[in-house]
Structure formats: C-alpha cells, structure tokens
Symmetry: C2
Subunit: 111 residues, 2 copies
DNA sequence: ACATAATACATAGTTATGCAATGTATCTAG
DNA sequence: CTAGATACATTGCATAACTATGTATTATGT
C-alpha cells in the first residue's frame, strides 16, 4: 500500500493547506498560537507541529495578512493573539475561490 | 489583495495535489506525459510545467505506483505511456480517503 | 525553402515550507 | 519535586514546484 509515500504526500498537501486553514480559522475569531493548534486538531484531526505553526504565523504577519498582540495573563506565560487584517480577509476570499475551483476539478477527474 | 502571496500559495497547493491529480487521471486510462499535461489543463485549468511533470512521473515510477512503456509512432517521436499499477491503485484509495476528509474539514472551518 | 510553433522527452539549480529537534519559561498534578 | 502540559521561538534538513535549458521530430505558414 506504500504508506510511506502516502505519509510524505500528506505532508506535501499540508504545505498548501495549512496557511489556508489557519486564515479560515482566524476569520471571525482571534486565537493565540498554541490554541490554534488545539482548535485545528479538534476540528480537522490535522496535527500541526509548533515548529510549523510559529514560522507560518510570522510569515503571515510579514505579509500583513494577520496582526498580533501580546496579552498578559493573571498567571502564566503571556499569549500572542492573532487576528485577520482587512488585507488578510480579501486575500482569503481569493484563496477560497481557488480552493473551490480545485475541489470541483478534482471531483470531476476522480471517478 | 496581496496577489503575490496568493500566487505562491497556489504553487504550494499544487505541490500536494499534482501527484493526486495525476494518479486520479491515470486511474482507468493510460496517457503519455505530454498528453497528461493537456488532459489536466483541459479538465482542471491547472497548468503543469514539463519540468514539473516528468520528475513527478519518475518519482511515481520509482515508488512503483505507475509503470511506463515506450510506444513507437508511425511518424514522430516515440511516446512513453504511463499506467497505474496495483500498488498505485491501492495507494490512490488511501489518498482519496484523506482528501475527502480534508475537504470536509475545510468546509467545516470556512464559514 | 526556411523559420516558427507544436510535440515529446529530460535535467540542473533555485526557492519555499513542513517537521524534527532543541531551547526557554511557567504552571499544575501526582 | 518531578513530569507533563502550556506557550513561545529558532535551526537545519528534506521535499518538490518552477524556471531555464537542452535534444529531437513533425507540421504550418510565408
């Protein structure tokens, strides 16, 4: 069944979808990094390593798609909350169009 | 709208989906490389560079997911036809399961 | 007759990104 | 008081799409 290939393939699929998933989740709510990992695992069963998410969030911020603010806790480590910017929202719309088109195309060819 | 980011994102999405698309197209019919590019462009509007497809087909062959044979033409350059192996078919099944799960997950989080 | 485009294969180098590994620091539970 | 969960972050490696480039044949236009 070549599960090693499938394993690598899943990792490749993630490369494109993670940014899309994160932007979608941030559309409406604000989350901090660690919370995002939990939220995505809960809703999609997709596990994101911390070493994947934090660089990704930094890239999204550098592109002005998300913004972040530190929030002090009464106890514990301060959390960095991320929100979607206006640019992030319009970019997400373009991505959603492409994704829907891709989804339909794949449905058409996989019989 | 940050179309440069979207451009890069689309390229990343391709990284995971191209192998999946190619295996799906080869499931049922046999195609030669150049024909595959045309077929996929026609059905999905996704353009695959030759420098992308040929290394991909070689990887799939090395993993025993596809097999190839040279077919001489009455005129012109011989064509290398690719077919899905048994292993390729069962691997594709596993990929289809994951893809459908991913599709549902993304639908759930994108409101 | 001759240049250009289309067909058909292939490889080398660049770039982007997921992930493992590693590090720091705090809080909670056994 | 130690282990695990929470919370941030960086470094280095592997993978794969893409651009550029190369070879060779056939068809088309002028």
């Amino acid at each position: 069944m070549n599960s090693e290939f499938v394993q690598k393939w899943k990792s490749q699929v993630k490369k494109g979808t993670l940014a899309y998933i994160v932007l979608n989740v941030l559309n409406g709510n604000e989350y901090y990094g660690y919370e995002l990992i939990e939220e995505i695992k809960k809703n999609t069963r997709i596990e994101i390593a911390e070493g994947t998410l934090y660089p990704l969030l930094n890239r999204l911020k550098k592109e002005f798609l998300v913004d972040s603010k530190w929030v002090e806790q009464e106890s514990g480590i301060p959390r960095k909350y991320y929100t979607l910017t206006k640019e992030g929202k319009s970019t997400l719309k373009g991505m959603q169009e492409y994704w829907q088109h891709l989804e339909k195309s794949i449905k058409r060819i996989s019989k």
